[in-house]
């Protein structure tokens, strides 16, 4: 089962990636090879088997733990700026991105 150029272009878009023509070609080949591997799963008869999301789910009941509804105090501006110190572009406490047109 081979992937087409369009498949790769669409996949790249969904994945938030921008591949050069060369990269796209390579990705097409590699992904086709990988699909061949994962296709082995199709041959397995899994009728009646539930998907397993948490590895210990068969060993014990795994339920979502809930925390009490209590708020931590707001951060000081200084602390906020520390958290935002890694931002590539920021201004007066806001993250900057190229304008989004609705």
């Amino acid at each position: 089962m081979a992937l087409t150029e369009q498949d790769i272009a669409w996949l790249a878009r969904l994945s938030g990636l921008q591949l050069s023509a060369d990269d796209q070609q390579r990705a097409q080949q590699e992904l086709t090879r990988i699909l061949g591997l994962i296709q082995e799963l199709q041959a397995v008869d899994t009728h009646g088997i539930e998907p397993m999301a948490h590895p210990l789910a068969a060993h014990q009941d795994i339920a979502l733990r809930l925390r009490d509804d209590a708020a931590e105090p707001p951060q000081s501006v200084v602390l906020r700026d520390t958290c935002m110190a890694n931002a590539p572009a920021a201004h007066e406490g806001l993250f900057l991105v190229p304008t989004v047109i609705e």
Partner: protein, 507 residues
């Protein structure tokens, strides 16, 4: 040679510190020197003398005040997948080349509180994706036993640092074998505990339902206090378990289980492992397994038999299927976990870009290496509409079947499973570049354990390769929450063998 190489174990070093034969600052100073001048400059990604010495001074205060614990003053280092304040955290990726976290991973916090002294951050495969530490954006790490070969991955830097005696122990993460496999290829001991026993908070997520932190050290005995300190329920991680089959998930559990098992073995006299049934999966001894590895495993199993254990032939019929199952689930979860890297709030932002979509996709494409991009594409594919059921859900169903296989073996047929970690010794750096799945296929013995969330470890059990100088690891797999006993079993083996005491040339 480093000061650290003079001490064969953590308890030895800890005793020396408590008896003031050596102090934490001088130990740390020497370790920093060794780290900076180490023949392989790519092992450490970030070293900061002042941060390390500050921790060493804290350790010396505790030692002077008599409040020191078993890990006080012990030099360790963290895989660069654990976020740390002070030191940068890069995940070995261009994407996070200049990222400094405002908080510490829970594991980092626990080990600091226990008194360890961190030498800095260790290289790994980018975002934990890889099995040769070649996928680091900052240079490949070399196997201390042969610099032309890989140390394994993704925790290659951790294994290399321990093997080279640069640290007494290192943290790693294991998603599909990333602690066990590099431990095996570098001749050190490493363990991946039961999923949910060690907090994932502060670990840069790769595959959430598989990631688990685990230590590497020179021997099983040293792993005990480190793993014990790392473990425990964490309210910040919703997949963290509060209890382990009735016992609280807290520091002390593993130490207690280890000591109890050790005592039992002691008490049993000349055949300490009498009654222990070792399951050996026949599927692990397929044609893909190199002869030298098969021999080393066979020798190890004989040692266990001489200690009184019995070998049982078992079957894990879906061993081969663990590869496609893992390589659907892990990339799927990773593709989503890595979506946050978009150049908006942190991380790499492209120098030139047009609109918002262009900025995001350029930044991500520039920031991520080949293997990461590959896995993101696979992950996006298997989750996409029309393929979700056939791939992702199908893989999760097969996962359940694999878990059932392990459970059946471990409850009805044996007490522990043993076999190889890898099909062969360390390969050369640069091999397997042509085939994207060659490395994936070599994960065959470790993936199932990860899918099942069972505890698994690797201990050195011999050497192989053309010159017979490349380490081989023995894998031990236990029941859920059996870490303590597993370590005691490994410790027994290490009491009558010396593979773990060999030191590589690059040390």
């Amino acid at each position: 040679m480093t000061l650290l190489s003079e001490f064969p174990s953590i308890p030895d070093l800890n005793l020396a510190l408590r008896e003031h034969r050596v102090n934490a600052v001088e130990l740390a100073t020497d370790a920093l020197r060794a780290a900076r001048s180490h023949a392989d400059p790519h092992v450490f990604l970030h070293i900061d003398d002042e941060l390390t010495l500050a921790q060493a001074r804290d350790a010396d205060h505790a030692l002077a005040a008599g409040t020191a614990g078993p890990l006080t003053g012990i030099p360790i280092a963290h895989k660069d997948l654990f976020v740390t304040r002070g030191w940068r955290t890069t995940a070995s990726s261009k994407m996070l080349a200049n990222y400094t976290s405002p908080f510490d991973a829970t594991v980092v916090d626990h080990l600091r509180t226990a008194g360890t002294v961190s030498l800095g951050k260790l290289s790994c495969d980018e975002f934990a994706m890889g099995s040769g530490n070649e996928n680091s954006a900052f240079g490949p790490v070399r196997n201390p036993w042969d610099p032309d070969r890989v140390p394994g991955g993704s925790s290659g830097g951790s294994a290399a640092a321990v093997a080279a005696r640069l640290v007494m122990a290192a943290t790693g993460t294991d998603t599909g074998g990333s602690v066990r496999q590099p431990a095996a290829l570098c001749g050190v001991s490493g363990i991946k505990p039961t999923y949910g026993t060690v907090s994932r908070y502060g670990i840069i997520a790769y595959a959430s339902s598989l990631d688990q932190a685990g230590p590497l050290a020179r021997n099983a005995c040293d792993l005990v206090p480190i793993l014990d300190a790392m473990s425990g329920f964490d309210a910040n991680d919703s997949t963290s378990l509060e209890s382990c089959d009735g016992k609280p998930n807290a520091t002390g559990r593993i130490q207690a289980d280890f000591s109890a098992a050790q005592s039992r073995f002691e008490a049993a006299g000349a055949r300490p492992l009498h009654g222990l049934r070792i399951g050996v999966p026949r599927e692990f001894f397929n044609e893909g397994l190199a002869a030298c590895v098969a021999e080393a495993i066979e020798s190890a199993l004989k040692v266990f038999e001489s200690l009184g254990a019995t070998r049982v032939d078992i079957s894990l019929p879906r061993t081969r299927l663990s590869i496609p199952a893992y390589y659907v689930i892990a990339p799927a979860e990773a593709s989503s976990n890595l979506s946050r890297y978009d150049g908006v709030r942190y991380g790499h932002r492209a120098e030139h870009y047009g609109d918002l979509i262009d900025m995001t996709s350029r930044s991500r494409t520039e920031g991520f290496g080949d293997e990461v991009r590959r896995r993101i594409l696979v992950g996006t594919y298997v989750l996409s509409h029309g393929y979700y059921d056939a791939y992702y859900l199908q893989a999760q169903r097969v996962r359940r079947m694999i878990v059932d296989d392990f459970q059946r073996a471990l409850t009805e047929e044996c007490d522990v499973i043993m076999g190889p970690v890898t099909p062969d010794v360390a390969r050369r750096i640069g091999d397997n570049k042509q085939d994207p799945i060659a490395d994936w296929l070599a994960d065959i013995y470790t993936l199932g354990v990860s899918l099942a969330g069972l505890p698994g470890m690797s201990v050195p059990c011999g050497f192989g390769g053309s010159a017979g100088r490349l380490p081989i690891g023995l894998q031990l797999v236990g029941r859920y929450f059996d870490e303590g006993r597993l370590l005691a079993i490994a410790d027994r083996y290490q009491q009558v063998t010396d593979w773990h005491q060999r030191i590589p040339g690059l040390a």
